[in-house]
């Protein structure tokens, strides 16, 4: 028997590790937080790793979870061992197939990292609402509470389903378990082979469809027999709990860890028991141990097998001394008599009581909700539940962990209650996404977990912004397995890897007295004290912290490590945290460096060693003064001018205090005000653009490409400059349309992310020094205050009259105020410039349906959101329904608006005499094709409303209610390529075919960006992506051509970096076309692997290679007898490889599979040449009337 080794891995890897080895087919679709399971499986198969029978499992990506479950069903039906990995909405999409799979008694296990279902909002985090939504499908539901359990149960589940023929959803808590890194014992192939009975595998195969022994499955049945047939499988469900327990017992014999369907731990004579499942059970156990050691008699019943629910096993597991039971559910069933687990427990107890078989007197049973969307679940919450049972009239159906001041359902918490032992080292690290802190911590956990007998745990909390984001790493190390499944709130070691965080966050809040505080500081030990905020000083003194500083960036620079401080900060941690003896720790780091960089040669290793040694030489303890003397205060979360709601609610979320907000602070139905991002000044740019008004040619390209609307152009009356701050710059407007007016390019210094796209596109170079442009980057800090003042003044200048601007040019479009600003998108994002352009051109009358993905996250993730309003308070109304239904969702907007408009027209005609025939006629026949026409209609409708207010009739009131619909509305359906090309394609196709006036904007990054770079059908040939680790072998789907085939859809393919004027034109034409329009907008992306500063150049190269022809297909032209297709890009002038090889997504294949890379480049070259030639011919075709005889 192979020795089992200790590994430090997360729950997803643990599940995938077993699933990959006991299956032959994995059909998957990415969804957070389960994506990594499929990615692991895909990677292992790509590496040629085999299952226990010696073959490499086939891992395939489908177009949706619905598709994945269909493929799984088919694969199972033909006899292969098959699995999938999913969560949340993905699991919902699998429900139809799950009914079928269970109805056909098919052996399979789905591994689910349980995640919140979208209700009033989407949440990527964990709870049981998804798995509870499939409890009626006939599947077994098996819960794991820890990373070790995930690995063990994955195997137990496979063994049980093969024997019992009931399919199993094996689930564990999303993020909390799926992403928590723990040291666990890894099962061996022998363990797996011993657990899986090959006779059962053969039996599974023999049930598969085969023309050699044909059967029919999936018949249609009538009222006469369906019912009986449905009942026929019942014996399998009766037997299944026993079969699962047998598998658990067999596992115990082989591996040594014994599980039960319901595992009870705690006092044998407990009077109170908490029942729950998932990771919360670990915390409950830790709490029970503590309470029992302090004189209480409590226990925890962990539910493993929730379906089929075995009342017999449940009752047998509960101690007979029980007087009270608290059942905790990690989900909410509004309107129910209680949440699912509670209901089942109550039913089991009551039925037993009614049958006189209850082995103890009927206890008091209460139920409550906890931990929705990964809300923290701490020992204090467990205690609160158990304490409630002590009361004569305990609260039932409570919510623990929040302050429910609306319904009064929450339980009070003892905030100081802690059960953590002194032998556990608890560490907190505050880092920036880009500084490598999380990676270094994962490495530290490996070093300690795999190199010492200690146990280790790591959990990582990320920001909801994609640029300049905060990461907080929560690490625990100790001599016993770690069961504290909650964030570190009492830290012995706190490291702050970014000096600026001290002003933004209370980093020392969790530090215990005497803790070590490590600060990455540009100031040395003698000067740092006066540079840190006073509240930080006060905490250091009050808690008697040991305070260390290092100038990590200087050490990195001096030792040739660039700006990555990860190794340096990691070395500091080992040197002063005391988690390992210092010398041993440094030795371990060096060993790890050698392992990581050894392949790159000795020079790289030596450079890293030097960084470690230099770190130790530059790490200093600060002599802490007795008194806080500083004058620096913490920066407020939002600006002074923010509305109260933003300050009091969103502001709390920004500083990490969202947990303290009561229920009453939240909207009832998920509705939030827009235009809130403007109040959150993130100051994340190290450098910002500086405008040289003398050099500027006023092309406005900088404003167009800015992903964050942080550089803007305005024309205004020079007389307004009287009140301008002294540093405010302006120039005479160049050009005829605003002759005599002033012009300014202004930077929003605190909102700019420093991406540099604006500088790259700026065409104006100094004639004497070409390195100086009309925009250059300069240090932000000295510019912050003056530019803040300038930006405020700039905003106070009136926006230009929209009717006077020519929107059809880049320059004109950028005089419209962006109504999408300061989003949380990546610095240098390629999508947001298009979104912003949409908001500028049509934002004041736009309704946006946004598919789930990057654009829904940077567009709608709390705390603050970027969709904004103009001076009149108008702006885009935005909503996200789901990932898969976005086209239909937006189509619904159109149907609704048209219906209301029709009703308004009907009422107008009816009330014509009272309202004035002329007004009614002018409203009904209004030309709203341009800005002036729309402005005029708005005035007419305002006039209409005034008149209606004087008419007190039901019809007048009804007309007032729909009068807004008479002003032209612009419906925008926005999403990424994953939505448009894959999961939402069916719906998109239908909506495009509908002929209704909707505008579809596809932000095409050629990859699933939001979930981390999975292959989509837009992925180009040869590009490496997740699920295409060997490069995508087929060309990108030509979505535009498919839409053109209808002949009634306006279609444009645009790439701003290649032709910005064409982009603007396409947006205007698409919107003005009275029918469905589709814009496919190429968007450079962080998942392409290059410095996004050069994003626009890459777009240009792509188009020059012919792989992405620019065109506009306007059906209106065909109606006029012209060719509707205008090809807007020239014939390829560089090769496919010339473009592709500048991006890591293609280049990496030259390292892993050079021959394949070469072949793909040739195929890409051929296909892009052909593609261009094809479009060229289409664009040259005659669309006139056929001549006689033709």
């Amino acid at each position: 028997m192979t020795q089992r080794k200790s590994v430090t891995i997360d729950g997803n890897e643990a599940a995938a590790f077993v699933a990959h080895q006991v299956n032959e087919v994995c059909a998957i679709y990415p969804i957070t937080p389960s994506s990594n399971m499929g990615e692991w499986a895909d990677q292992w198969s790509a590496e040629g790793k085999t299952n226990i029978w010696g073959t490499v499992p086939s891992v395939v990506e489908l177009q949706s979870e619905g598709g994945a479950s269909g493929a799984v069903h088919g694969s199972l039906q033909t006899g292969a061992l098959t699995t999938t990995f999913t969560a949340s909405q993905g699991l919902l999409l699998m429900i139809p197939n799950m009914y079928k799979i269970a109805g056909e008694l098919t052996s399979t296990v789905f591994h689910v990292s349980a995640r919140t279902l979208a209700t009033h909002a989407l949440s990527i985090f964990g709870d049981h609402s998804d798995v509870m939504a499939v409890r009626q499908t006939g599947w077994g539901l098996l819960a794991s509470a820890s990373v070790q359990e995930v690995m063990d149960m994955a195997l137990i589940a496979q063994a049980a389903t093969l024997k019992g023929r009931v399919p199993i959803v094996h689930f564990f808590d999303g993020f909390r378990t799926s992403h928590e890194v723990q040291k666990i014992e890894q099962l061996t192939r022998e363990d797996m082979a011993a657990m899986i009975d090959d006779n059962l595998v053969r039996a599974h195969r023999s049930r598969g469809l085969s023309p050699d022994r044909p059967v029919l499955r999936g018949s249609a049945q009538n009222p006469d027999v369906f019912f009986q047939a449905r009942e026929r499988s019942q014996p399998y469900y009766v037997a299944f709990p026993g079969i699962v327990q047998e598998a658990m017992d067999k596992f115990a014999k082989i591996v040594g860890r014994q599980y039960h369907l319901f595992d009870y731990e705690g006092a044998k004579d407990a009077d109170r028991v908490v029942i729950l499942m998932g990771s919360g059970a670990e915390t409950a156990l830790e709490t029970a141990e503590y309470l029992n050691a302090h004189g209480e008699k409590v226990g925890v019943l962990r539910v493993h097998l929730f379906r089929p629910f075995s009342a017999k096993h449940l009752l047998a597991a509960i101690p007979k001394t029980v007087k009270g039971i608290v059942v905790l559910d990690r989900c909410k069933e509004p309107g129910g008599t209680g949440e699912p687990l509670y209901q089942d427990v109550v039913t089991a107890l009551s039925e037993a009581m009614a049958e006189n078989s209850l082995p103890f007197a009927m206890p008091k049973v209460i139920g409550g909700r906890y931990g929705l969307s990964s809300k923290e679940f701490t020992p204090a919450m467990v205690k609160a539940g158990l304490d409630e049972l002590k009361k004569a009239s305990p609260k039932n159906h409570f919510a623990v962990g929040i302050n429910d001041d609306v319904s009064g359902n929450s339980l009070p918490l003892d905030a100081d209650f802690s059960v953590e032992g002194n032998d556990v080292v608890r560490c907190l690290f505050f880092g920036l996404g880009a500084d490598g802190t999380v990676g270094a911590n994962k490495n530290s956990i490996k070093i300690i977990g795999e190199g010492t007998p200690n146990y280790a745990q790591g959990y990582f909390v990320y920001d909801s912004k994609k640029s300049g984001s905060l990461t907080v790493s929560h690490l625990r190390f100790g001599p016993r397995p770690i069961r504290s499944i909650y964030l570190v709130d009492r830290a012995n070691f706190v490291a702050c890897h970014q000096f600026v965080f001290l002003e933004k966050y209370d980093v020392l809040k969790a530090a215990v007295p005497g803790a070590v505080f490590l600060l990455n500081s540009p100031y040395g030990p003698d000067e740092v004290w006066d540079k840190i905020p006073r509240p930080v000083q006060e905490q250091i003194i009050a808690k008697k912290l040991k305070f260390y500083v290092i100038d990590g960036y200087k050490v990195a620079k001096d030792t040739g490590m660039g700006s990555r401080v990860n190794t340096i900060m990691q070395t500091c941690f080992f040197a002063i945290s005391g988690v390992l003896p210092k010398n041993e720790a440094i030795e371990a780091i060096k060993k790890s460096i050698k392992k990581t960089y050894g392949a790159k040669g000795d020079d790289v290793v030596q450079k890293n060693f030097a960084a470690v040694d230099q770190t130790l030489a530059n790490l200093f303890e600060v002599k802490v003064p007795a008194k806080a003397t500083g004058s620096i205060a913490l920066t407020p979360a939002v600006t002074d001018n923010a509305p109260a709601y933003v300050k009091e609610v969103l502001g709390k979320i920004i500083i990490g205090e969202g947990d303290s907000l009561p229920v009453s602070a939240m909207p009832e139905d998920g509705t939030f005000p827009t235009a809130t991002a403007q109040y959150e000044k993130r100051n994340i740019a190290l450098e910002i653009p500086v405008w040289d008004e003398k050099l500027c040619i006023q092309c406005n390209k900088c404003a167009l490409v800015c992903p964050h609307a942080a550089i803007r152009a305005k024309v205004y009356d020079g007389a307004l400059l009287g009140k301008a701050p002294s540093a405010f710059k302006s120039a005479d407007f160049k050009g005829a349309e605003f002759k005599g007016m002033k012009y300014t390019i202004q930077v929003a210094p605190e909102d700019c992310t420093g991406c540099g796209l604006c500088v790259q596109v700026c065409p104006a170079k100094d004639k004497s020094n070409a390195s100086h442009k009309a925009i250059d980057m300069a240090d932000q800090i000295p510019l912050r205050l003056p530019e803040r003042e300038n930006f405020a003044f700039f905003l106070s200048l009136p926006d230009v009259d929209r009717a006077k601007v020519n929107p059809g040019t880049v320059k004109g479009s950028q005089f419209f105020r962006p109504l999408f600003e300061f989003s949380g998108a990546c610095s240098g994002c390629g999508e947001t410039p298009y979104v912003k352009l949409l908001s500028q051109l049509f934002g004041d009358r736009a309704i946006v349906a946004n598919a789930t993905g990057c654009s829904s996250i940077y567009g709608g993730n709390l705390p603050t959101t970027p969709w904004a309003v103009n001076a009149d308070g108008r702006g885009p109304a935005w909503s996200n329904s789901l990932f898969e239904d976005n086209a239909e969702f937006g189509y619904g907007f159109r149907l609704s608006l048209d219906a209301q408009k029709e009703f308004a027209g009907f009422l107008l005609k009816k009330l014509s005499s009272e309202l004035g025939d002329a007004l009614v006629e002018s409203i009904l026949t209004a030309d709203q094709k341009d800005e002036a026409g729309i402005a005029a209609q708005r005035e007419r409708v305002a006039e209409l409303k005034r008149k209606l207010s004087g008419l007190n009739t039901p019809e007048a009131r009804n007309l007032a209610g729909v009068a807004e619909s008479l002003v032209k509305k612009s419906v925008w359906i926005v999403g990424g390529d994953g939505w448009a090309y894959d999961i939402g394609y069916g719906g998109l196709d239908h909506v495009l075919a509908s002929g209704r006036n909707v505008n579809v904007l596809v932000l095409d990054t050629q990859v699933y960006s939001n979930t981390g770079g999975q292959c989509s059908k837009a992925t180009p040939i040869g590009s490496v992506a997740k699920f295409a680790a060997s490069g995508k072998p087929s060309p990108r789907k030509d979505l535009g051509l498919m839409a053109m085939a209808y002949g009634t859809v306006y279609v444009a393919q645009v790439a701003m970096g290649a032709n910005d004027n064409q982009t603007v034109k396409a947006f205007l034409e698409a919107e003005s076309y009275d029918g469905p329009s589709l814009i496919i907008a190429y968007s450079h992306c962080i998942a392409h692997g290059y410095d996004l500063r050069f994003g626009m150049e890459h777009q240009k190269a792509l188009v020059e290679s012919g792989a992405f022809p620019l065109y506009r297909y306007n059906p209106e032209l065909a109606a006029k007898g012209e060719n509707p297709l205008k090809l807007d890009s020239k014939a390829p002038k560089i090769s496919y490889g010339d473009w592709a090889m500048t991006e890591t997504r293609f280049r990496m294949l030259t390292k892993s599979k050079p021959e394949l890379a070469k072949k793909f480049m040739e195929m890409g070259q051929q296909s892009s040449q052909r593609l261009y030639h094809f479009y060229e011919q289409l664009a040259a075709m005659s669309f006139g009337e056929p001549k006689k005889g033709e």
Binding site: Q43, G601, D603, V604, K765, G1089, S1152
Partner: protein
């Protein structure tokens, strides 16, 4: 007619060797070179800096933006322990050796002493018959004395000679204060051959974009004259074999270089322009010329017009204006 020559201790069937260029990336093109009559091939250079820079860049971008956002803790599939080293290049040497019967000369551009030695050793292990060191260095630091630049060349050569047993040639540019002295020092440091001269990228200016653009203009026969002078001057004064490169396009260019003293001539631009088959045309023309002029062998011709053998040795030393004065007949 005996066209054979010896270069780096290897007996070659003729003096035409395709120079290091991207043409050699493709195995089928290497085979075509052999079929066209090439007597050896020099593979495209392996650039240590580029190789390591490439690995570092891929490493960097594979983790760029990773671990910043909960839904996307990475953006690329894990590449595992991908080939960060020269494996692809070494494999190419192996395949070239298998496919060809003519000698295969690997070309190396290193940056560090460790790199020079490590990669040279690997090239030898992969089966290269010889190594051509491509020292591509443009000294731009005004504080760096010329002596230091020269020492760098010598040091690189010594490092490689220490590391391998196969012959080593060194390809250099002409920009030394005393090229002859430099050649001698390289010769004394163990160079088996000198390849004259390296051709550097010549940055150009794009007037439309107002920016500097990298540029490499193909050489023409005019460019060979610089090499011609130095081959002639050095022939017979140092032990190392002389290879002429840069500007060799026609049989006449080859013949001139041989007369000046080159052991082989290396061609690249001509093959890009006229195709690999151009080698056989040059060989045929060369043979015809030799027959017409009653030469029996290359050996006979080699160095016949070197400075040492030239009736007017000063011809290779005069500056243009001197020649003009001398040529002046009132």
């Amino acid at each position: 007619m005996d066209l054979s020559t010896t270069y780096l201790g290897m007996k070659l069937k003729n003096p035409i060797v395709p120079a290091a260029s991207s043409l050699s990336r493709d195995l089928s093109k290497l085979k075509a070179m052999e079929d066209a009559g090439a007597s050896a091939v020099v593979l495209e250079s392996l650039f240590e800096e580029q190789l390591e820079g490439e690995a570092a860049s891929i490493d960097h971008y594979l983790t760029y933006g990773a671990e910043s956002y909960a839904e996307a803790t990475s953006y690329f599939p894990v590449l595992g322990d991908f080939d960060k080293g020269p494996e692809e290049y070494l494999e190419h040497i192996r395949k070239a050796k298998q496919a060809l019967s003519i000698p295969v000369i690997a070309s190396l551009n290193g940056v560090s002493r460790g790199g020079w030695m490590r990669y040279a050793r690997k090239m030898e292990e992969a089966g290269a018959d010889a190594i051509e060191l491509n020292v591509y260095f443009i000294p731009t630091d005004p504080n760096m004395p010329g002596g230091e630049v020269e020492a760098m060349y010598v040091e690189a050569l010594r490092a490689v000679k220490e590391a391998v047993k196969i012959p080593v040639a060194i390809k250099v540019g002409p920009y030394f204060s005393n090229m002859a002295n430099m050649a001698r020092r390289l010769d004394q440091s163990g160079a088996n051959g000198l390849v004259l001269f390296n051709r550097f990228y010549q940055p150009d200016i794009d007037l439309e974009e107002i920016e500097v653009v990298p540029h490499l203009q193909f050489s023409s026969s005019v460019a060979m004259l610089l090499g011609l002078r130095w081959v002639a001057i050095l022939h017979g004064k140092i032990n190392a074999d002389l290879a002429a490169t840069n500007g060799i396009h026609t049989h006449e260019d080859v013949l001139k270089m041989l007369m000046a003293g080159a052991a082989v001539t290396q061609m690249a631009a001509a093959l890009y322009k006229k195709g690999i088959g151009h080698i056989s045309a040059v060989l045929a023309d060369m043979q015809a010329w030799m027959e017409q002029h009653e030469y029996e062998s290359v050996a006979q011709m080699r160095g016949s017009l070197s400075q040492k053998n030239c009736p007017s040795p000063s011809a290779f030393e005069r500056a243009n204006y001197m020649k003009a004065i001398v040529g002046y007949k009132p």
